[in-house]
């Protein structure tokens, strides 16, 4: 497929790998932000062929993984209400809440549907005017334009039985939170290519400068990831810390401006709790007051949510890059993709799921 095959070329990948080996002289810790990049690294064995000096830490860039348990429990409570059709991207349906997941709500008779696009949820609302249709609006900046468009369109067409349960998160505040932690080990970032496709990379300049870390917006194919690593390593070896774009074919400095405009029109920036990490100031999006009619948080009252995180799960530490999945005592034992304790084992982009699928079982 055009724009994929060129970036999966093994000969080109070997050239870049050789260049990385030639460039590196000191140990460096690099974090790939996005779970899609983590899967590419593990699936293609990139972690196993890099020079021993380079350690890749896996970042918190999996929206499914960082959605707080309270919101999962709230989604489960809303989905169980009799007049509700609850719609979501498929990834969220198996994420364990305190007592059950959304699939279990469906098996108990709830109307829970996986959709490909938020506009599909809007069509369901139009076709079911007597039902309340709720869309679980989870994601990073990449997904926000679509979710914003669904509300914009609902308002334009006067579709009153549609609402969103929003748990949007923003990448740069999380990158900064990790860098400012006393436990931080990260010396350079591969930034998430599709987040940057929407937002551009101007907001990374002050982070690179303040924390003196190279930041490289990077794509997802093996050649992209290797080239991203090479650009970070070159900067580290030369003592530079700049934002340097690897994902040239998709990312522009200014990002996608029409998308940014609609995101700002529908949502406002808010403090947000990240599952396993805690609250990060100004790291999320919520629906603006003028669109509050589409806010499922306000439309449905859900009382008495008592969250219960499994004690064995260390996904919070994994999401901060402080431990690898195979260092968790429950990994591959109590916790597997069929019996997940945490979202990092459920999500198609979770680091634990990647380690399990590609058999990085540890010692």
């Amino acid at each position: 497929m055009k724009y994929l095959d060129e970036f999966r070329d093994p000969i080109l990948a070997k050239k870049i790998l050789a260049e990385i080996h030639k460039t590196v002289t000191k140990p460096w810790v690099i974090m790939e932000i996005c779970g899609g990049q983590t899967h590419s690294i593990i699936r293609n064995g990139i972690d196993q062929v890099l020079p021993k000096e380079i350690e890749l830490d896996h970042g918190p860039g999996c929206p499914v993984c960082v959605t707080p348990l309270e919101i999962i429990d709230k989604a489960i409570a809303i989905a169980g209400k009799p007049n509700v059709i609850f719609t979501s991207f498929g990834d969220m349906l198996r994420v364990p809440g305190s007592k059950k997941d959304l699939f279990m709500v469906k098996s108990e008779g709830g109307d829970v549907r996986a959709v490909y696009s938020p506009l599909e949820a809007l069509t369901i609302a139009k076709n079911n005017p007597k039902k309340e249709v709720v869309f679980f609006a989870v994601g990073f900046e990449t997904t926000a334009p679509g979710n914003a468009m669904a509300i914009h369109q609902a308002a334009k067409e006067g579709i009153a039985n549609f609402s969103e349960l929003v748990s949007h998160v923003l990448v740069p505040p999380a990158m900064e939170a990790l860098l400012s932690s006393p436990e931080n080990r990260v010396q350079g970032y591969l930034a998430a290519g599709h987040v940057c496709t929407i937002m551009g990379w101007e907001e990374y300049d002050p982070i690179a400068e303040k924390y003196q870390v190279p930041i490289v917006p990077t794509g997802f194919e093996p050649v992209d990831v290797l080239e991203g690593i090479l650009l970070v390593v070159k900067q580290l070896e030369e003592g530079r810390y700049e934002v340097e774009n690897q994902y040239l074919r998709s990312v522009k400095r200014e990002g996608n401006q029409p998308a940014q405009e609609l995101i700002s029109k529908i949502y406002k920036i808010t403090d947000r709790k990240w599952r396993g990490i805690g609250e990060i100031p100004q790291s999320g999006l919520s629906i603006r007051e003028q669109y509050s009619a589409y806010d499922a948080n306000l439309k449905f009252s859900v009382e008495d949510i008592q969250t219960n995180e499994p004690e064995l799960c260390i996904s919070g530490v994994i999401l901060q890059g402080l431990k690898k999945p195979n260092e968790c005592p429950a990994f591959g034992k109590e916790c597997t993709p069929t019996t997940p304790l945490g979202a990092t084992m459920v999500s198609s982009e979770g680091a634990c799921a990647a380690y399990y699928k590609y058999q990085r079982m540890g010692k």
């Binding site: 497929m1 055009k2 724009y3 994929l4 060129e6 000969i11 080109l12 050239k15 870049i16 050789a18 260049e19 996005c34 779970g35 899609g36 860039g61 999996c62 929206p63 499914v64 991207f89 990834d91 490909y116 696009s117 938020p118 506009l119 599909e120 989870v138 994601g139 990073f140 990449t142 997904t143 334009p145 679509g146 468009m149 369109q153 334009k156 067409e157 998430a192 599709h194 987040v195 496709t197 929407i198 997802f220 080239e227 040239l248 074919r249 998709s250 990312v251 522009k252 996608n256 029409p258 998308a259 609609l262 999500s347 198609s348 982009e349």
Partner: protein, 83 residues
């Protein structure tokens, strides 16, 4: 969740006042919202995420980055031959 797939725009049309397109992913056709790419044309490639086209893929940039590695490969070959 942030994955996006490249596809070729084969048709542009309007649905409920929204700019939509048919996208060809190597033979599989699906629809995507093109509202965020006002300048996109039929025949161009785009990255689609959750039913929304995010960017027009830039052929010149692809060629530039691949050519740079091609040249580097030639340089490495020359160095190897001389040593």
């Amino acid at each position: 969740m942030c994955l996006a797939i490249p596809g070729k725009v084969t048709k542009i049309y309007s649905e409920n006042g929204i700019k939509m397109g048919k996208i060809d992913y190597s033979g599989t056709i699906n629809t995507a919202c093109l509202e965020y790419l006002p300048e996109i044309k039929v025949g161009q490639y785009t990255l689609v995420h959750a039913g929304f086209a995010l960017s027009i893929l830039n052929d010149d940039e692809v060629k530039k980055s691949l050519d740079a590695w091609e040249e580097l490969g030639e340089i490495i070959k020359d160095i190897d031959n001389k040593s």
